[in-house]
């Protein structure tokens, strides 16, 4: 059984030899690629802390077997900023205090980036809340999260950068 895969993670090609087909993308990132920004809150798709972008779309990395994703293009929270320059979603989360403990934050931010790319929420806070509801925050930073998503979306739209997000 050949269990080696190759992924592009944050723009870098990574060849990985898996010793076990049970390894999820989440555990692969955290335990084997030292990308611990992506968090494990429930390991069964109920909290969203592990949200990453897979081929441009937000997914729960705890629900993805690594072995099934040979050749995939992955973006994690570590790959979002351009050097020292934060992505507009990251900057907006700071400005609107869209987090407290910060544990769900990488997932919230990746989910927000995915949402903005989906381009379906518009500037309606209610639709943003709905579309961000797969990402739990126990501290209760939802008000700031919603404001941050709306602002970042506007920033990106203004900059005409939606596709570059």
């Amino acid at each position: 059984m050949d269990l080696s895969i190759s992924l592009t993670v944050n723009g870098v090609r990574r060849d990985v030899a898996l010793d076990n087909p049970r390894v999820t993308l989440l555990d692969l990132l955290r335990e084997r690629l030292d990308l611990t920004g992506t968090k494990k809150g429930c390991d069964r798709g109920q909290c969203g802390a592990c949200t990453i972008l897979l081929d441009g779309r937000r997914i729960n990395s705890c629900l993805a077997l690594a072995i099934s994703h040979d050749g995939a293009d992955i973006l994690t929270i570590e790959g979002l900023a351009q050097g020292e320059e934060l992505h507009p979603v990251q900057a907006a989360f700071i400005a609107h205090d869209g987090f407290q403990c910060g544990f769900c934050t990488p997932g919230q931010i990746m989910s927000a980036v995915g949402l903005i790319r989906e381009g379906q929420a518009g500037d309606d806070p209610e639709r943003v809340r709905e579309a961000m509801s797969g990402n739990l925050c126990r501290c209760g930073a939802y008000a700031g999260i919603t404001e941050a998503v709306l602002e970042a979306q506007k920033t990106l739209a203004d900059a005409g950068r939606r596709d570059a997000a």
Binding site: R22, R30, K40, R44, A49, Q100, C101, T105, R129
Partner: protein, 754 residues
């Protein structure tokens, strides 16, 4: 070695004078939005292996068999730790030497005392192998009938509730007050078991080097954790180094080292390699504490003029069979409403559960939703507006003690909150309002309260010749903003701006910052920082004012002001000298000093100290489906001095969302037969999602408290839960005319009997 924490050094806002009071963005913000903030489970020391717990599926009995051979035979499994081979401990995990010590399940025997109790630990090269090994253990049990719920066993009166509060307290004669009342209300309210469910599961990475122990684990009380581990393992506290720079939420569940964390340390000792042990979400519904369920009976008597004649608050709760923690739910009645007669009492049953623990506003949250509901019911029975009734019974002094309040801006909270919410437009009777979609609309309110506590803490301040300063205190950032707020206090204490102040926190080798709990961390550690800063400035002033070469010579300590890295002669700003110049002339690279803090016993004897608030809630209820949505919340809170309004507002929001959750969402359901928690996951244990959260407003009401501590700080972390839960429940009544007394309110509570 402590991890390097790269905090932002440039405040987002220009500083005008003091750093305290500036609504700065979080200094750990960039780390948290880039994935750079390192939580315990993010560590991966060389040679690290993984430990996974096997936990009991029964609530009471004994483990009779574990398939050790199968587990050990699985590729990658290194060891299986059971009661038979667990490394020895220096202290019995069932010892209880003081009330802050909780008994732990560390494989001391084969007995099972709650569902989810650790019964073995499998250690393997990979997480997958350890997980598989734990599954292969396939335990068998001798099972005894589980005792479940508030009626699970014979009730008794606990010796104390909370930490050392008397179970029964009374002033006046409640029975006489009720007998003489024009209006009497008696009602029973039930609140469920709740689990903290911090987003970050409890985790530990432990590595031994001889008798030295290095640990990454989230802790709300580093020094206490260090002491507890030292006792268990028989090593000196100084030999234990704990790093906890960021907690992924705590809410009380990370206040004490829990059994699973200690098992991670044992596993590391057993295999002689660094070990990571992270709880699975479902494993957080047993050994790491919870909020116990309550059944509360409220009795209120009111005279013809609308003033209370009696207030009786009785709470029944549960605890474990093997340890003591009793939710002090009735104590909230001590402080809020004036009544000549108040009686609070508690009783409890012991059931087959993990020991309950402090959970965000322990006692206050549970008690508040019952008391605020009962107050609302009473106001209605008296024909009075709920706000008017609360004002009529406003406590000018703390009712239970007769002490004056150190400060109490609750009237202003009521006024500002009501104004902002539009309370004056509320129809008196229920079921009067509908929205454009035909949904029933209701408005309710509740009073929020939480004691202003102080524990003990220490800090160390350093001033350096290069004009910078360092402040050290092992504070804990679990989301409240410790990295930012304490740095603001530190900068002011050192007379420096933020950019020249380094604040060190989050590790056990720093001065003991006490506990991040009881909403007291900012006040407690903040005062230690304040004192340390004053002490080091005093040393610096001594150097300058005693030196004839200094422009400050002869000014004396009282005559010097520290600001912007310089000491100024009071009253003559033209005479000043920079910190660096003073130190350079003295031939010193740096000077340091320590400061401590503790509650002032004189002030405590003289004053009642509490934060207060008023919360107004709007809900909408689908009359046919019973679906409830909280749509609007306005809270107005007075909690002394605000260090950083951006962070404080977030704390209020978080608390208010917890209040909504308490009233409408969260509840652990125990199987009445097995004692297992049936919804031990985030899909079925409902905490609010983004779309469940209403439009929120938190008003910060100005309050100056000259007694609570020199900085005038009260706490803000927990008060938001109180008041809100009751406000939502009262709004549901106002929308529907139906009084729900069992929480969370379920749709069938609103639809039955239609």
């Amino acid at each position: 070695m402590s991890p390097e924490i790269r905090l932002s050094t440039t405040p987002a806002h220009a500083r005008h004078g003091s750093s305290i009071g500036q609504p700065l963005t979080r200094r750990d913000g960039a780390l948290k939005v880039t994935g750079g903030a390192r939580y315990a489970a993010d560590n991966h020391p060389e040679g690290m292996v993984h430990a996974v717990l096997a936990t009991s599926s029964i609530a009471r009995g004994r483990v009779t068999f574990l398939d050790l051979d199968a587990a050990k035979a699985h590729p990658g499994v290194l060891a299986v730790m059971t009661p038979a081979n667990r490394p020895p401990l220096a202290e019995d995990p069932d010892a209880k030497l003081h009330p802050f010590m909780f008994r732990l399940d560390l494989l001391q025997n084969d007995l099972v005392r709650y569902a989810g109790q650790p019964i073995a630990v499998v250690i393997a090269e990979t997480l997958e192998a350890a997980t598989e090994g734990a599954a292969l253990l396939a335990p068998r049990y001798e099972t005894l009938p589980a005792r479940v719920g508030l009626d699970g066993d014979t009730p008794f009166i606990p010796a104390a509730v909370g930490i050392g509060n008397p179970a029964e307290v009374r002033i006046g004669d409640v029975e006489a007050g009720l007998a003489g009342a024009a209006t009497r209300i008696e009602a029973v309210y039930e609140t469920p078991a709740q689990y903290h469910n911090a987003m970050e599961p409890h985790a530990i990475v432990a590595a031994w080097d001889g008798d030295a122990l290095s640990i990454d684990t989230p802790s709300q009380a580093l020094a206490m954790a260090q002491g507890r581990i030292a006792g268990l393992f028989g090593i000196a506290p100084d030999n234990i180094h704990i790093r906890s720079p960021f907690l992924g939420g705590g809410f009380g569940s990370k206040g004490f080292i829990t059994g699973p964390q200690a098992l991670g340390i044992l596993a590391a000792r057993m295999v002689g390699r660094p070990v990571k042990l992270v709880l699975r979400r479902e494993q957080m519904y047993g050994p790491v504490g919870h909020r116990a369920p309550t059944r509360q009976r409220l009795r209120l008597g009111v005279g013809r003029d609308g003033t209370l004649t009696a207030l009786g608050h009785h709470a029944k709760t549960t605890s474990s069979t093997y340890d003591d923690f009793f939710e002090p739910a009735a104590d909230v009645a001590h402080t809020l409403y004036a009544s000549p007669a108040i009686a609070t009492s508690h009783e409890a049953v012991r059931i087959d559960t993990g020991t309950p623990l402090f959970m965000r506003a322990p006692g206050e949250a549970t008690g508040s939703i019952a008391l605020e509901s009962a107050i609302d019911e009473t106001a209605w029975a008296c024909g009075m507006d709920p706000l008017a009734f609360r004002l009529k019974n406003y406590a000018e002094v703390e009712p239970i003690s007769g002490k004056p309040f150190s400060s109490k801006a609750l009237r202003e909270c009521y006024a500002q909150g009501a104004e902002r919410f539009g309370w004056s437009r509320r129809p008196f009777a229920p079921r009067q309002m509908r929205d454009e979609d035909g949904l029933l609309v209701g408005w309710g309110m509740g009073t929020a309260t939480f004691p202003a506590l102080m524990f003990q803490a220490e800090a160390r301040a350093v001033l350096k010749r290069d004009g910078t300063g360092v402040m050290e205190s092992g504070t804990h950032d679990m989301g409240q903003g410790a990295w930012t707020a304490f740095a603001q206090i530190a900068a002011d204490a050192l007379g420096l701006d933020m950019a020249r102040t380094e604040f060190r926190a989050g590790t056990s080798d720093l001065p003991d910052a006490g506990i991040a709990g009881g909403s007291a961390h900012t006040a407690t550690a903040g005062m230690a920082i304040h004192h340390a800063g004053a002490a080091v400035i005093a040393r610096l002033a001594d150097l300058a004012t005693g030196d004839a070469r200094s422009p400050l010579f002869g000014a004396g300590n009282a005559g010097v002001v520290a600001r912007d890295g310089r000491l100024f002669r009071r009253g003559d700003e033209s005479r000043s000298e920079s910190y660096g110049d003073i130190l350079a002339r003295a031939g010193l690279g740096e000077i340091d000093a320590r400061g401590t803090s503790a509650a002032d016993p004189d002030a405590q004897a003289s004053y009642a100290m509490h934060a207060h608030g008023a919360v107004f809630a709007e809900v909408k209820v689908d009359p046919d489906l019973g679906q409830i949505r909280a749509t609007r919340l306005v809270g107005a809170f007075a909690a002394g001095r605000v260090i950083n309004s951006r962070l404080v507002r977030s704390q209020y929001y978080g608390g208010m969302i917890w209040g909504v959750s308490f009233a409408l969402h969260e509840q652990a359901v125990a199987d009445p037969r097995s004692g297992r928690i049936l919804n031990a996951n985030l899909g079925e244990y409902h905490i609010p999602v983004n779309a469940d959260v209403p439009a929120l407003e938190a008003l910060i009401v100005e309050e100056h408290d000259p007694h609570v501590n020199a900085l005038g700080i009260k706490g803000v972390g927990e008060i938001g839960v109180t008041g809100t839960a009751g406000a939502v429940a009262n709004a549901v009544w106002h929308a529907t005319g139906r009084r729900c007394r069992r929480f969370p309110i379920r749709l069938d509570d609103l639809l039955t009997g239609r």
